[in-house]
Structures are given as C-alpha cells and as structure tokens.
C-alpha cells in the first residue's frame, strides 16, 4: 500500500494500523523490517528550520507501486507499506516509512532496504530547505 500525505503523521501508529487492517496476517509473519526517515535540523553544513517537499503527482504513486511490486517478486514478503510526506515539514517530522512483513528476517530486511534505496534514488521528490543561510534546493549526496 502506497500513501502520500500532506500532513504530519505518526509512523509507528500507521504501521500498527496497517497490520491491524490485515488480521489474516497474524501468526503468518515472523519478521517485520521497518525504515523511518525524518527531517534533521542540520543538513550539508547548515541548520534547517523548515523544508518543503515537492513531488510529481501521478508519477510518484506509479513509481512507488512499481518498486513495491518488484520487491514482492524478488522476496517472499507480504504487501509492503510505503508512506511519504509532501508539502511543508518541520525538523523532526517523519518523511517516509517503509515497512515489510515476511516469514523470515532476511527477506524482510532485503526488501525494506531495496524499497527505500529505490525510493531515494528514483522517486520524483525534491526537497527545498529553509536554512540559516537562506533557502536552497537539496542536491543528492
């Protein structure tokens, strides 16, 4: 399941409700691997006071759906949960959640890592920071 949110969210509560929405999963998975990315108050040499996240509506969902499907083809996993913020963010706000459930931990870890890596390098999001030194578009590290 892929969700894009314009408002702050609680990653751990979202993970819990996703598992509860799938009661047939109970007892079937032995492993959950989760990545949560959040906004640091310091980046590439400057204090960050605010960030806005632009994205490409339509392409973003397509891309994240595709990456989730690819992960489910490569590893034996249940349907991943991918949530990503857009719009205005404050430091410490969660930006992204990737949660993967599986019978086994190696599949869960590998699929989680695959999805977040593909998301970071290919999903059409762009960060624009307000820093003590002015505003700037973030460039990939």
């Amino acid at each position: 399941m892929v969700r894009l949110l314009a408002h702050p969210f609680d990653p751990w509560a979202e993970i819990e409700s996703h598992a509860q929405r799938n009661p047939q999963w109970a007892g079937k998975f032995g492993a959950a691997a989760v990545f949560v990315g959040s906004l640091r108050d310091f980046n590439q040499g400057h204090a960050v006071s605010e960030m806005s996240l632009e994205h490409y509506p339509g392409m973003t969902e397509k891309h994240l759906d595709k990456v989730s499907r690819e992960a489910a083809e490569r590893w034996e996993i249940l349907e991943p949960l991918v949530i990503h913020r857009y719009g205005q963010l404050k430091p410490a706000d969660p930006i992204v959640v990737v949660a993967v459930w599986s019978a086994h931990r190696d599949a869960a870890f590998c699929a989680c890592r695959y999805i977040i890596d593909e998301l970071k390098t290919r999903a059409p999001f762009w960060k624009h920071e307000e820093t003590e030194a002015g505003h700037r578009w973030v460039t990939p590290e």
């Binding site: 990315g37 059409p124 999001f125 762009w126 960060k127």
Partner: protein
C-alpha cells in the same frame, strides 16, 4: 489533441517560472525536440546532462520518441526519502 503536455519541477520549474506548458506537437519527434522548444523561451537553464526526463510518467532518455497527447516532464536529480 495535437499538443504535448510539458511539466517542470523543482529548480527547473523555478527557472521556467511555471510548472506546466502545452506545446504544439507539430515538428516534435523526441524529447530533445520538446526541450529545445521550451528552452528557447528561457535563459539560464541547467546543462541538459543534469536534467532528468519522464515521458508519460516513466523515466526516459533525451532521444526517446514523443508524440501528440504525451506528457513530458523535466526535473533535476530527485531527493526524496
């Protein structure tokens, strides 16, 4: 529909001063044709090598074919997650 729907994002959107432009498909064969057409009206663009392209919301190359009704997007390297 004899137009191409062109989108710009992030600093490229800022340089164009708009997020979207419709262009006439006449004379357009590939992405590079679209870029030349829209860039004509804009100074100070980043080097083409740093511009990413999507055609119909899938990544594509500068020489990918484009025809009337397509959606073409230009954007800088992505920084999500």
């Amino acid at each position: 529909m004899n137009t191409i729907d062109v989108h710009f994002f992030a600093d490229i959107r800022e340089r164009f001063g708009k997020g979207q432009e419709f262009i006439d498909a006449e004379g357009i064969h590939c992405v590079k044709d679209v870029w030349r057409r829209v860039a004509g009206s804009c100074g100070g663009l980043p080097p083409v090598a740093r511009v990413l392209v999507a055609v119909n919301q899938e990544y594509a190359a500068m020489d990918a074919p484009v025809r009337a009704g397509d959606e073409v997007a230009f954007f800088p390297p992505v920084t999500g997650g």
